[in-house]
Symmetry: C2
Subunit: 547 residues, 2 copies
Amino acid sequence: MARAWNQGEQERARRLERARAAGLGKVVDAARIGDLLNAILVSGDRICVEGNNQKQADFLSGALAKLDPAVIHDLHVVQSTLSLPSHLDIFERGIARRLDFCFSGDQGVRMARLIKENKVEVGAIHTYLELYSRYFIDLTPRVSFVAAQSADREGNLYTGPNTEDTPAVVESTAFKQGIVVAQVNEIVEKVPRVDVPADWVGFVVKAPKPHHLEPIFTRDPAQVTEIQILMAMMVVKGIYGPYEIARLNHGIGFDTAAIELILPTYAESLGLKGKICKFMSVNPCPTLIPAIESGFVEAIHCAGSELGMEAYCAARPDVFFNGPDGTMRSNRVFCQLAGHYTDLFTGSTLQMDLEGNSSTATLNRVTGFGGAPNFGSESRGRRHASPGWLKAGLESARHGSTMPRGRKLVVQLVETFQDKMAPTFVERLDAWKLQEDFGLSLPPVMVYGDDVTHLVTEEGIAHLHRCETLAEREQAIRNVAGYTPVGLARDRKVGENLQGRGIVQRPADLGIDPRMATRDLLAARSVKDLVRWSGGLYDPPKRFRNW
Amino acid sequence: MARAWNQGEQERARRLERARAAGLGKVVDAARIGDLLNAILVSGDRICVEGNNQKQADFLSGALAKLDPAVIHDLHVVQSTLSLPSHLDIFERGIARRLDFCFSGDQGVRMARLIKENKVEVGAIHTYLELYSRYFIDLTPRVSFVAAQSADREGNLYTGPNTEDTPAVVESTAFKQGIVVAQVNEIVEKVPRVDVPADWVGFVVKAPKPHHLEPIFTRDPAQVTEIQILMAMMVVKGIYGPYEIARLNHGIGFDTAAIELILPTYAESLGLKGKICKFMSVNPCPTLIPAIESGFVEAIHCAGSELGMEAYCAARPDVFFNGPDGTMRSNRVFCQLAGHYTDLFTGSTLQMDLEGNSSTATLNRVTGFGGAPNFGSESRGRRHASPGWLKAGLESARHGSTMPRGRKLVVQLVETFQDKMAPTFVERLDAWKLQEDFGLSLPPVMVYGDDVTHLVTEEGIAHLHRCETLAEREQAIRNVAGYTPVGLARDRKVGENLQGRGIVQRPADLGIDPRMATRDLLAARSVKDLVRWSGGLYDPPKRFRNW
């Protein structure tokens, strides 16, 4: 008998027929979500619940968690972020078993427990782009659950500014004969623009409540410390300036917020406007508003949006990627890609070892890393040149190779001590213990030391890429590690040598007086200031308002 | 006066108004293409003419080349491929000046001349993903010209299997208030499926002739040589088998076609079916048909389609990514991404130096590299493990680092001599001369030696990643370089040592008898055989038919 080459199509047809038989059309009533799920899901299915770091298909996730595990079980979940309790309820209740993911955020501790209890069987912890890639290789979802702002009755979806993972999830599922279910906030006559065409979508459900949005990119300027300002000054004067960093990506955090907030003040005073930080691949962080308004940052492509920034982005089409309807379209795939090929990434970490390997994975938490390993790694497939990329490449120790090559700058920005006086610098990362505990193939390193070019602490800058050997790199790290045990064990002689060669730079070497690092340098000192800079367009979530 | 933040929007509105004033609606008559271009283009614009390695917006490109350079000039072209004469006519006639691109294929020689004559000012030669990335950073097109199979009167586009670059080009342009013009083969009442939503598209023109499609992925099995078969056997038995390569990408060429054609014969006899080559990111190369039909290759995601393979792909939805309409959707962004994160890339080159750096750039031709630098570089942002990735990583010389890390396998497959007895191995790549001649920042290297794990010639396999030093790597290369001057200058003693350590493997070391490397091992020996394997579904272009 000839082999059937359309088993996926047949399977899809069977499931759609079950839904039809249950009286379900393309637009499904929220009250009947259980019937829909039972019609289109089969035990063992590979599914994706959108689930990225902001927008959540929370109604669908909640409905999945209510399924009867006697009927639907052993699902394989392939989704970027698990940050809602219901995402893990699916495992706790035995509906899903296997998991391939990127990031678990607030659920990290519970995730660790479920792994230990064998309720979650982890395939791997990915970065965003590699997981999306696998949607097109060996981890294609059979059923996907996504979230959008609105849909029309045919099923055309409008995501609004929070487009995020939706295009990647939907394309892989719909074009491998899978089924896409979208929860929307409203059903409308005509969507403002089409973000996902109707024929890619199987079912649409108007959820009882608008989908959840988490404002994870908002940092209150009031909490930026003077140490962070000092470090930001070093980054601007010691790295962004000399390497002429026009295109870059920032991680989330107060460290990078401080940089953003001193662009219109300190960086401007150094004559760097129009030279650095012109193009960014980053979400619309509110702390970027002053730099945008003063013409410092010219264009931004976003992975997602940020709660409260919708009207501001819509009013700045020359800066953001806005559609014909006037609102932004984000796209995590293109933003992650764009960020990979920019000249520089600056991010923070919780722990760094003596080779410069860093990780935010700490004991008893399995959180993953999201985008940092992608932004924070050399883009070896890059071929176009820029001043900073060439300079960093030519400065790098190349172990005798005669072939010149450019290099991405990766800056790790950390204070020597974390909360509760835990030293950032350690002889051995907790990641090793995690590898053991969770049976991982390798320690979960976020950014590898080989990929880091610059380490910045309140003590100074270490130009790690210029170190000739691992031993030298270790000394460079120790020499900016301050009063941590790692710092105290530094070799002073080697340190002086490194400082003499400009591989370690103290604030004074950069002409920076630490006493100048005050909050006066911040272009905005509060959320209210940000609102003012935005001309009232930024509408911060309630938790960030204290006036 | 307050700054205007919607200059792009205003500019767009002015141009659309000019088109309206000229009596042009959304669907434009082909005879009026000149009027449309004059209405929507302004000197100095950044434009993209699609322009990838298969599908060509040739009607639009031809119309651009007929513009009056006194009116429209100094355009900045940002497009992946320039392979049609009209693509360069635009420069020759002074309509465009600046160029950022990836690949120039057949136009390489003319490109070199135009650069020397200062008619083309090259920004940079990119890989596909990095150029698409820059569409979202600093090289966003203001006007894009794309090609699709059909459109409805609203402007919804159906690309059919040749989706290729279209989604990336359109998204970046449409969401930065640019204008998208699509040439289509037909205007229909309803498109079979929506590949690009109408509100992303400015104008649609039915071209007088269907858009050009180039079958660049077709290799006639009749031309596969016994040396290529021997090398393919070494790759299968010496690399794909021991590294359990289930997910991979192949370059274009007879070398990789030979591998594909011995999967159902030689690889099957080694018991490797179901273990290797299950998932591929590659175009639907006709030489893959036997491996698909025999159940070897299970799923393929494609960057583009291939002329003649349309019906075959449509009949194999379990293998390809087909839409609800039944035809394939390709997507170069996702395929390049997927290929970057697979376990292995095998490709060929024209020249390799003693460090293992390789390039297809030769004197007097500026062609670029397309996707190879992306597929053929370490995916340092990858975190998920697989057997081959772990094995290659743990085997690699890491200069004393104690942190284990995985590694992508990059195989370079070359005969020691090219056409006209030009040696493949050289002391110095032509790329150095090209750098000088064309004022490039760096020599145009396709794949860097640091990223290559395996070099395979008819002489054997060199496991370059296991070499401890550059000197050792040089000797490993010399020891498989045969009778080229580079090969003849090898150190026999070191060669024996490398062979003893398994870093150099001869066919005999792999248990391969070169006399077995005959065309009998090919599952298909002609294009006609491929048609037969496909059950008559593959419909090769005329130039490949000799019956």
